[in-house]
Symmetry: C2
Subunit: 879 residues, 2 copies
């Protein structure tokens, strides 16, 4: 088995094996670009490492040494050679870029002897010892996991002792001294000296990359992004080139187009005489890429040529790292660039219009989740007019966020756990450890860092509003305060607002409004609609939600829950009277009071939907959810029922009787209709009467009545008969006719297993994957949150089954239910209305098993439309 | 389609279509016995009747009339003829005899004219008018549903008026008068006159039989006996013969053997000059069948010949009805006779020994449930005769118990400590804390809770007599009294008696007798063991249970629940300390205290089982079940932990935190092991150390560790690794070696769906069908009891899915799990350990899908052995 590939042995399609970075280095090598040569250790080697109790397999080591030898021959340098040493960088590189993992170790291969010889051969000892001390520091931090701060402290101490302010003011001797001090510190921490053997350095670095695949941040990131832990990471070993060699050297990152707006112009930053980490760290402020044209016109021309070439080659906007060593340009990395949704859509539409890609290719370029950015609110014009800008930073990720400020990820997590909404995170700069906090907040503000800093990249990926590099403010993490240039102080929990599209920061709460849907977006979504097979409906309980859903392109309502209709004050009291009534007679009296309200609700919904399908689900939650909790409310209910004192006791007993051990698995859904048929009758009457009113007004209307929680054919038939009898009664009374459908929600495992029997009697099914997931796994969402954290931590679960359909378990039942129902009724309408209906991966699965539509929350409708289109495209290309 | 069969057109194998009675009448006709002729209307006609909104289909009516005409030709009589009228009986007859349904209408075809003519032609007008008045009375009662009492009242009034005591003292004229009075009463009730048209009488009677299929009693009976409502009933229409014609006439019932003891001697009773209903009604005392020999020797000889013939023909003890009309013997019915378990076994063994049937046939003759009678103590016949029933509840766990009553577990424990014997426990309902008390008493009575309530389940497991849901009594725990509906009050220490086989409660001490396990029973069970393929294990948590299980023939322990081990006083406190501990360290300290107890428990269990397999299930219930409920207990716990006052608040918070919304779907089972691996480690250590101790003593021992509630392969692997690492640690410490297995309980739907993946890593599976049923249906047993009553009433469910495996739903998952796990691991050990493991129908299913064993409560082991044998026999005969 081949575990190590030289760059010239791979290509861009080998991402699974070589990781994204490795595959692209190979590809660039293949098309003749200037890439420092090296080799990639495969993801297979990583998996083997874990299979064998975290040890490097002998065969893997042998192959690494072989490739190293090849590299030495090719470069004419030798690892550990004192005259002409080969120096290496080691980088992780999974199939997809993963911020949580180890990034880079530079200058590998350095030791006392190599440094001494290399100082002579380069004639630049300061440069050599600076690289040497950096190696020790990185190695101690990333490979060994020693505290970074102690090395930083020693370095700062040296500067104080020497009376200098800048790193560059330290002399060669100072740096030599630092190397010695670092080695002592290393020895103290490790109990063993810093490994002078370059091969040991290399193998330890490789193992560190493998280990970093399973550090906590990487696991969190994988969970958030549905990346299976089984993938593993590759390792890239590459000859060093030095952007910090001299003033004819430099390093930078660039995008072929503007990643914020999509504008078709080279976009990037660089630093002269610097290593890559200096650009990202945000310590020195980099320059715009255009200025390179003046400083090194030759290099700039070559670079912009390579940019065009790479974009055309990859058919996508590229994000590249480059280094210039002594006037020579080297490409260190290329990948498809992260971008805002707005930019993504503009780039996609522009590239289609320019004939560079097809509509299908364009549709595949955008992560459906990214559209969220376009659907998020902005500040209202009025609120902005009176608002005071207290600081300004880089507009790193668009959107508007308003809320309470927090200064650490822990505090954000705590606030979220307390149930606080609308949180904002403020940091000096963010690091991979902040991922969890960043995921919980509406907006992020950093003091340091540019458009390509960690905060900016991650926030854009998440579609979260972010302002970066806001260096006019001071943040004190200890006292949890933010101080503006003008001395205004904000404390933890104060309100602020960030505008990620302008970079402006406001010291108050601002009103937000819905986004505008602009031209390219419409064009793009039209393409999605042309191509998708799946219908997209929305879960909407109110006319307001329904309107929003239509605006976002929903083709109907897949789920209108009726229970919220009972919580309204005018209805709650009669509904409570209904619940505690001890005779059918009394229940009917109470329900008669609710009927006109429900009828009006439904009528308004039908009007809004203008003839598009509307599925109304009958009452689902257990009745005790509606009962009074406080003694006062109980009294109010008692008074409303003209109850005597003794009856109060009876009422309390009735309330106590309704308590359940496991409400999720209790007296709810269709079971209510079996026990209290009058509820289903009232709801049927409300639906049919409402439909007749709206039909009379000239609308087309065909209500679909959905009976929840069915598990058995006879159970379904019983309730269906109730519904149909009542509907026919109403139609006879009103001497009218109306088309209506009756179907059920498939949400208990038994319903999927007996779907063929139930399908014979049902007009439609809607898979309720929330409950189906709970029952298939046997845990309730509310209770599982307590232990699922441990499941993620221990790598038992890779993803949240309530967010993405569990294809191995729940998915098997969905497929079974679909197959069996289609077998007996080919044209039965099948959809899904759990939260999974808005999740792209789940939508792809729904497309695959042949559902007719998905239904999701109104704000996810555009996401679903795109995901459905992508599913169709992938399905065709797989055929 | 043929809806009506003349008797000569059918045979005994057509029970599905003709019902049991009809098929046997046809069979007797076929073998030439004297049977009054007639015809049977099929169960198909009944189903059609229900399909067509309870109307008799025209085709069915036409065929009835055709067969009626045939019957008229054959008999030479004519329905409604005034000279030679055909008179009919109409009887219901389902596939199995169903006491809940309509029984019989006699003398059909009688009206004023027929009666007048028939009185002349028979020369016996008294006889004719007596029959006529009986017809009106029966018709009004059974067909029309008028109150029986009003007719009885009128009859009694007449006797008073005429000054006579016996029916037979009424004259012909009196009876004619009664006919007139009855007709008036009928008119008053019906609003229409009694139908004089014999054909109308007949069709109405047929419809009444069909209707009776769905009366409440019939539905209840079907539910209790797992009879599907889809079967429907047949109707038998038969020419009347008259046992009340004269003194050469008579009627009786007889068994070919004694149904109480099994003795091989004709056993029965008859009355001369009487109709069948007189024998059953018990107004006149019937004579023993032997005396017929003296009165009508010819008839007796013929009858005893027929008895032998029928028994040989049906290869079973027969229960027959006969009528003698004017010296002629007629057989009205034969069927396999109901008998006591003791008789059943004796008959079966005798018949095998006599070479009349095979062992297989013998084994099929006994309902496994019947064996229960032989396994529990009963009250003596004499003691029951004078005993007063003071309340009645559900017969939840069979057996008879007499003793002193106590109202709390503590009081039971105290009484036991004082040396009192024969204790009874009475509770509103029981909870896991009552286990210790339940374990000490002979009988348990609860006010609330159904057949599957905690008390019922636990009592059946223990083999302790239990009456549940006895809601006519009131229990006051504070004053320690029980009050009956009639106001009788019983105090702590008073004597009472419970009959768990009938649900009856007596307010006094009654004599009991232990069951005899006699020779035939052993022989019979040996045959069952020879023939069955399925292994039989027991669910036993304690050495005591395990001993009982072995006595009843269990071949191992299929489920030893370990949670009860934590409820013991010595362990509960450290366990509570463990639960509320906030560090792993503190948890370990607490667990270390429990370890020696668990080790001893397991060691004793291994000794009792002498090398037979023992499956130990690790801790399953959510931790909050173990926490203190009262403030006092909380304080006790706090003191034991040396807690300060502030810490108390912390403790209360921790207890509150552990509360769950849906404990059934919460933090339990293997999820506990993921979060608190130290619990699983402690239990592993206890198991392995115990096994080593017992191995040392010279026993063979191979413990099987079962991880509950697994839903995913990785989840299983995680816990399995914990277990194996710990086990290897212990073995290394002790320098010993030991064989042990690790497997899992398959009880959440997802585990059945992914069984192939899990099977790769597991030594065995045990299907936990209790939880699997709950999750597949999506209702919890505790909560479902509230609404399932409505499901039975509305015919939505035919049976209790917690008692018998739901083959259409849960069964599909079991089959899937079995098939998939066998596919990857052919020899994986597969069993079932839910309560279904003791249910004969479920056992047959387990046999069919190829499980290796079933595990049930010790007292159900003989039942399971027989059921497994029957399953094997049926399987072979189906091949």
């Amino acid at each position: 088995m081949k575990y190590v590939y030289a760059f010239h042995e791979g290509n861009k399609d080998m991402k699974n094996l070589l990781g994204g970075k490795g595959a692209n280095l190979a590809e660039m090598t293949a098309i003749g670009l200037p890439v420092p040569q090296g080799f990639t250790i495969t993801t297979d080697a990583c998996l083997k490492y874990y299979d064998e109790q975290e040890t490097l397999n002998g065969e893997v080591i042998t192959q690494i040494k072989e490739k190293l030898q090849e590299l030495e021959q090719k470069s004419g340098k030798k690892l550990g050679d004192t005259n002409n040493p080969l120096l290496l960088s080691v980088r992780s590189g999974a199939q997809v870029s993963m911020p949580g993992m180890m990034d880079t170790i530079l200058n590998l291969g350095m030791n006392d002897e190599v440094a001494a010889g290399f100082a002579i051969s380069t004639g630049n000892p300061r440069f050599v010892y600076d690289n040497y001390r950096r190696l020790i520091q990185m190695f101690a931090d990333v490979v060994m996991g020693f505290p970074k701060s102690s090395f930083e402290y020693l370095f700062d101490k040296m500067k104080v002792e020497k009376g200098v302010a800048l790193d560059s003011e330290l002399t060669t001797d100072d740096l030599k001294e630092i190397v010695g001090i670092y080695k002592q510190e290393y020895l103290k921490n490790a109990g063993a000296p810093f490994p002078e053997d370059p091969e040991v350095q290399l193998l330890e670095a490789v193992k560190a990359v493998f280990r970093s695949w399973n550090n906590e941040r990487a696991i969190t990131y994988r969970k958030l992004n549905h990346i299976p832990s089984e993938w593993g990471t590759a390792v890239n070993v590459q000859e060093m080139v030095y952007g910090n060699k001299n003033d004819m050297s430099g390093t930078g990152v660039a995008f072929t187009r503007n990643p914020a707006t999509g504008e078709d112009r080279l976009y990037g930053e660089y630093l002269m005489n610097a290593q890559g980490e200096d650009v990202v760290a945000g310590i020195r402020t980099p320059k715009s890429i255009e200025t390179l044209q003046e400083i090194m016109p030759e290099c700039y021309r070559e670079f912009s040529h390579i940019c065009r070439l790479l974009e055309d080659h990859y058919k996508d906007m590229q994000d590249m790292e480059f280094t210039i060593e002594d006037g020579h340009l080297f490409m260190l990395q290329t990948r498809n660039g992260k971008r805002t949704a707005k930019a993504a859509i503009k780039i996609a539409v522009d590239m289609v219009n320019a004939g560079k890609i097809t509509k299908e290719e364009a549709l595949l370029k955008i992560q459906p989740e990214q559209l969220n950015q376009l659907l998020h609110p902005n500040f209202t014009q009025e609120s902005l007019e009176s608002a005071q800008v207290i600081a300004e930073g880089l507009a790193a990720s668009p959107g508007a966020a308003t809320g309470k400020i927090y200064f650490t990820t822990e505090d954000v997590i705590d606030a979220d756990a307390r149930g606080e909404k609308d949180l904002l995170l403020i940091r000096g700069e963010t690091s991979p450890e902040d991922i969890e906090g960043m995921n919980l907040v509406h907006g992020i503000l950093t003091v340091r860092g540019g458009m390509t800093s960690h905060a900016a990249v991650v926030a854009r990926g998440m579609g979260t509003c972010c302002v970066c590099g806001c260096d006019s403010i001071t943040v004190d993490e200890a006292s949890k305060t933010l101080t503006t240039k003008d001395g205004a102080v904000f404390h933890e929990g104060d309100y602020m607002s960030f505008d990620g599209s302008t970079g402006r920061v406001y010291g108050e709460q601002l009103a937000t409004m819905e986004p505008e849907i602009f031209g390219d977006f419409e064009t793009f979504m039209d393409w999605a609609d042309e191509i998708r097979r799946l219908g997209i409906r929305a879960n909407a309980d109110t006319p307001k939600d329904a309107k929003q859903a239509r605006k976002f392109g929903a083709e109907g309502i897949g789920l209108c829950r009726t229970e919220h209709m009972f919580f309204d004050e005018a209805r709650l009291l009669p509904f409570r009277q209904m619940i505690v009534a001890d005779t059918e007679e009394k229940r009917k009296v109470a329900l008669d009071k609710i009927l006109p309200f429900q009828r009006d609700d439904f009528a308004e919904l039908f009007r809004v939907m203008e003839g598009d399908p509307v599925i109304i689900r009958f009452l689902d939650p257990p009745l005790h959810e509606f009962l009074p909790h406080t003694e006062e409310e109980v009294k109010e209910l008692a008074i409303s029922l003209d109850m005597t004192f003794e009856n109060m006791e009876h009422l309390r007993n009735r309330i106590a009787d309704l308590k359940e051990f496991n409400p999720m698995m209790g007296h709810r859904g269709c079971r209510l209709a079996v026990t209290y048929p009058e509820i289903a009758r009232m709801q049927t009457r409300a639906v049919i009467e409402a439909a007749l009113i709206v039909q009379e007004e000239g609308y087309f209307v065909k209500p679909e009545i959905m009976i929840p929680l069915i598990g058995d054919k006879k159970e379904y038939l019983y309730v269906k008969n109730l519904v149909c009898q009542t509907a026919e009664e109403v139609l006879k009374e009103k001497e009218a006719s109306l088309n209506y459908l009756v179907g059920t929600m498939i949400e208990v495992p038994r319903a999927t297993i007996t779907a063929d029997e139930i399908a014979k009697e049902a007009d439609f099914f809607s898979f309720g994957t929330n409950d189906l997931t709970q029952m298939t796994y046997g845990f309730s969402r509310d209770d599982a949150s307590k232990f699922l954290q441990d499941y993620y931590k221990e790598n038992i679960f890779d993803f949240d089954p309530f967010a993405t359909i569990d294809q191995k378990g729940v998915g098997v039942l969905l497929e079974l239910g679909t197959r069996m129902s289609r077998r007996v009724k080919r044209d039965i309408s099948l959809g899904i209305c759990g939260e999974h209906g808005g999740d792209p991966q789940s939508i792809e699965f729904c497309n695959k098993i042949g559902l007719d539509y998905v239904s999701c929350s109104p704000y996810r409708v555009p996401v679903a439309r795109l995901a459905a289109a992508q599913a169709s495209i992938r399905e065709k290309s797989n055929k």
